[in-house]
């Protein structure tokens, strides 16, 4: 029977994720100080915790899987606007990351970190998750009012739907840009275009489809911005793409005022 697990592979990836988490948590902290939380940063932190949970679970590292699961739950609530984005959350995430780092170093030596330390931070994370400020947001929506193609709405993840709704809530204009690139070199052009769109707003989703020829791919890019249509059209002039303003999804009504990330 093959051994499916390579501890060195786990340790290398986990260390890389911890390093990434330290950087993105610092960036989030700076964003809070500046009064502007970047949804991409928050989502990147969530994804790091999500991946750590996945790999620790598959290696049977139960304590690390439980701890990262709690982190993931809280970070999901924060990115979905059910919990506020504040320094309390960032600080406990930093503490959790430091502890996971200790656990990873210990695993590398075949040792374990004390259960008490892990249990204590899990208990604190539980309290945050059960905090009365945790908001219950109705996540269903009506797509009757939107003119975004159902084929596009159908592939948005729950998080992407949420970001679309948050952009609407912030009064942003939603655009759908259509662009075609050769299959051989689409990534460079798409990354450049995406970076540009991120400089004027938020890219909510990128959806590939078959291009006009067998050597091309078409991409629909859904993005929200505070800029008006004339500005966006002017900025995108000269690029080989189509852009149209679309009506987004109706915004669900939270049961309390949300203090989640703003677009």
């Amino acid at each position: 029977m093959t051994e499916f697990k390579d501890i060195n592979e786990f340790l290398a990836e986990a260390e890389e994720i911890i390093s990434e988490l330290s950087n993105t948590l610092s960036k989030l902290s700076e964003g809070i100080n500046a009064g502007r939380v970047d949804p991409d940063t928050l989502n990147s932190i969530f994804r790091s915790a999500h991946t750590l949970k996945g790999i620790s679970g598959m290696f049977g590292f139960a304590e690390m899987a439980t701890l990262t699961h709690k982190m993931e739950d809280i970070l999901d609530s924060v990115r979905m606007g059910r919990l506020p984005t504040n320094h309390d959350i960032v600080n406990i995430m930093f503490e959790a990351v430091d502890l996971i780092n200790e656990m990873i170093v210990a695993k590398g030596k075949g040792e374990e970190v004390g259960h008490d330390k892990v249990d204590a931070i899990i208990a604190r994370l539980n309290r945050i998750g059960e905090s009365p400020s945790s908001l219950s947001v109705v996540s269903t929506y009506s797509d009757e009012d939107t003119d975004i193609d159902k084929g596009i709405l159908g592939v948005l993840t729950e998080y992407e739907e949420h970001r679309l709704q948050q952009n609407m809530k912030a009064g942003n204009t939603i655009f759908l840009a259509g662009v075609e690139f050769s299959i051989a070199a689409f990534d460079e052009g798409l990354v450049e275009l995406t970076d540009f769109l991120k400089s004027v707003g938020e890219v909510i989703a990128t959806l590939p489809s078959t291009g006009d020829s067998k050597d091309t791919l078409h991409f629909d890019i859904l993005f929200g911005t505070q800029k008006d249509a004339a500005y966006i059209e002017e900025m995108l002039k000269g690029r080989n793409l189509t852009v149209r303003r679309v009506r987004g999804l109706s915004v669900p009504v939270p049961q309390a005022e949300s203090a989640g990330p703003e677009a």
Binding site: T2, E3, F4, K5, D6, E9, F10, A12, E13, R47, H50, T51, K53, G54, I55, G57, M58, A65, S139, G151, G154, V155, L156, T157, E158, E160, I183, A184, F186, D187, L190, A205, T206, L207, P208, S209, T210, K214, L217
Partner: protein
Amino acid sequence: MSSKILVVEDSPTTRAMIISAIEEVAGGLEIFESKNGFEALKLLPHHSFDLIITDINMPDINGLELVSFVKRNQAYRHIPLIIITTEGSERDREKGLSLGANEYLVKPFNPEMLQNVVKKYIKKG
């Protein structure tokens, strides 16, 4: 006759575990790996894949967008698709299956369970 399988997963550890598990299913499998959806889009025209295994939560394009692309493309829509993801939302699971994914497995997956699912879709040697 060997089967070609494409594994799309951004976590190198998870990708390696998936590949280790499916390598045991049959001899002579050709396994290709992509660390994101963009790499998968570039590989698709160059190989006639018999099965695609993808994660959902990935950077650039998500797994649902990849499933949608494959199932709406005349050249690829016949390829069976397995989604393997860490417990996600029920809505994402429903979307994956309604877009045409054949199976939806939740991490941490049991290697034998993945092998049994893969066996259903590969060519019998």
